[in-house]
């Protein structure tokens, strides 16, 4: 366990060394939040609420969805793909740790860095620019923290899956890009899931993506109340457990058919 915590620490320090690279990222996220804020203001017009979300909640939803994205988002799928292509993965495999766990810990180190140096200052900036409201209930914050941890798990597991797919596809830059687009839409980042037509919502109930952005953002904006919060958290937890299955299977298969050229 200690070695994995060390992984988190090292990745955190690595990111800290290049922290100036992230200031512009905050601006980019604010620009995106701004675009959606104006769009949604126009969509709401003089309507009080749509799908039981008020315009204030909607603004908060967009802001928190983007800032939470900074936490769960990582490029470990691309890193794994690179390491497979360059043959480095062979060395990684004989090292005394589990490769996938190690990758996940690196992602976590990145996430912790970003939540402290990206999301928190970003939230302050967004708070001054747009009418965002924060909950006064400390419990909401606790639920939210639990929820984004689970959303980090789900997103990272999906990244691991796409990364491992490189073993079979050799070049999966396209798959990685496509996955990102799909997650932006189906996770509820650009649109709350409750806005979709009924049949689409039913489909998404059977997919893990809404646990990435929709559930934590709804908890934060208090669009979820009481039992809905627990259902959301349960949904996320179940998916975290379920997703270990395909990862385990693909990983065993991948190791069996791995051919390293050179390296």
């Amino acid at each position: 366990m200690a070695k994995y915590i060390e992984m988190i620490r090292i990745r955190f320090l690595m990111m800290l060394a290049y922290r100036t690279n992230y200031y512009s990222g905050i601006l980019i996220y604010s620009i995106n939040i701004g675009a959606y804020y104006f769009l949604w203001s126009a969509i709401y017009g003089d309507k009080g609420s749509i799908q039981s979300l008020s315009i204030g909640q909607m603004t908060t939803y967009i802001a928190v969805a983007w800032m939470a994205r900074a936490f769960y988002f990582n490029n470990i799928d691309r890193e794994i793909a690179m390491e497979i292509k360059e043959g480095k993965v062979a060395i990684e495999m004989i090292r005394p740790y589990n490769y996938l766990t190690m990758k996940m810990m690196q992602g976590l180190g990145e996430g912790i860095f970003r939540i402290l140096f990206f999301s928190l200052p970003g939230m302050v900036i967004v708070y001054f620019l747009f009418p965002v409201s924060f909950s006064a209930h400390p419990l909401t914050w606790v639920y939210f923290l639990g929820s984004i941890l689970l959303s980090f798990m789900i997103n990272t597991q999906i990244n691991l899956l796409t990364g491992i797919a490189t073993f079979f596809l050799f070049n999966n830059a396209g798959l990685i890009r496509a996955k990102r687009v799909v997650i932006d839409l189906f996770s509820g980042l650009i649109l709350p899931i409750s806005f979709f037509p009924g049949w689409a919502q039913t489909v998404m109930d059977y997919l893990p993506f809404k646990g990435i952005s929709y559930i934590p953002s709804m908890i934060f904006t208090e669009g979820f109340q009481g039992v809905q919060i627990w259902n959301g958290l349960m949904n996320q937890a179940v998916w975290v457990i379920l997703l270990f299955l395909p990862i385990g299977m693909l990983w065993t298969l991948a190791k069996r058919q791995l051919i390293v050229q050179g390296g």
């Binding site: 690279n21 512009s24 990222g25 601006l27 980019i28 620009i31 995106n32 701004g34 675009a35 104006f38 769009l39 203001s41 126009a42 969509i43 709401y44 017009g45 309507k47 749509i50 799908q51 070049n171 830059a173 396209g174 798959l175 890009r177 496509a178 687009v181 799909v182 932006d184 839409l185 650009i190 649109l191 806005f195 979709f196 037509p197």
Partner: protein
């Protein structure tokens, strides 16, 4: 040799290299299509909850998005200079460019073209045709030429902004993230400008004129006469911004000192 024939030789060379890795090119086109589909789905879902957005209907919004895709595809295919500073200034590649007998910017455009982006224009035109038939728009014979003029003007607006930004690299080669930032600002042009507040609308019209890539030219085909002044301004803005960027580029090239050996 004329610029035109050099262009076609580079283009055919490019196609040969891309066709060697067909699967890769195909996946790239598909993932482009996917992200365009996501933007369309966004508009469709949103209009499930409202019928008008600041005076624009669903099909009008879709038409604007379709139009936007055409100049954006032209820009994406030929002006891939977002990593100019890293690729040409820091690595000293600009030395090689300057020894070539054609204009330095043209040489870079040739080297960095990504013709598969042009598929975005096809998608855009299809989207425009479908939404135009939903809106029962009528066109004149000369509208085709108006469309070409406006689409090229929009691409010039985009190109002008990004070439100007790339020219900064001649003066300062420090790492900036201004390019990705600009790509995100460019997305503001996909939607009608009257949803934004006055300041942003003004910026999108006169400073970073992304509104001339989507909503202003589209207004002509949609028959929104209150925007016609801006429609007529589109070619002017395109030419002005493109020439400003050329001027900055040519000025910058004289400042280039080279890096490394």
């Amino acid at each position: 040799m004329s610029y035109v024939s050099i262009f076609f030789q580079y283009a055919s060379q490019y196609l040969k290299t891309r066709l060697t890795y067909r699967a890769d090119a195909l996946v790239e086109i598909i993932s482009d299509l996917l992200s365009q589909a996501v933007n369309l789905i966004f508009i469709l879902v949103v209009f499930g909850h409202t019928s008008l957005l600041s005076g624009w209907s669903r099909d009008e919004m879709i038409f604007i998005y379709g139009f936007f895709l055409v100049p954006f595809a032209l820009f994406g295919a030929f002006f891939n200079i977002w990593d100019f500073t890293d690729r040409y200034i820091v690595k000293g590649e600009m030395d090689r460019i300057l020894t070539r007998p054609i204009h330095s910017l043209f040489q870079i455009i040739l080297e960095r073209m990504e013709l598969e982006s042009l598929f975005g224009a096809v998608t855009g035109i299809v989207i425009m045709i479908v939404s135009a038939s939903q809106l029962h728009l009528t066109f004149h014979w000369y509208d085709l030429f108006v469309f070409l003029l406006l689409a090229f003007s929009g691409a010039m607006v985009y190109a002008g902004i990004f070439i100007s930004l790339a020219s900064i690299g001649f003066w300062s080669d420090s790492r900036t993230d201004i390019m990705p930032m600009m790509y995100n600002i460019g997305n503001y042009g996909r939607y009608p400008v009257n949803i934004y507040n006055k300041v942003i609308r003004w910026v999108l019209t006169w400073i970073l004129p992304f509104a001339f890539v989507g909503v202003y030219p589209s207004a002509y085909f949609l028959g929104k006469e209150e925007w016609y002044t801006y429609t007529y301004l589109t070619p002017v803005i395109g030419i002005v911004f493109f020439f400003i960027s050329l001027f900055l580029w040519n000025k910058g090239v004289t400042k280039y000192r080279g890096a490394g050996n």
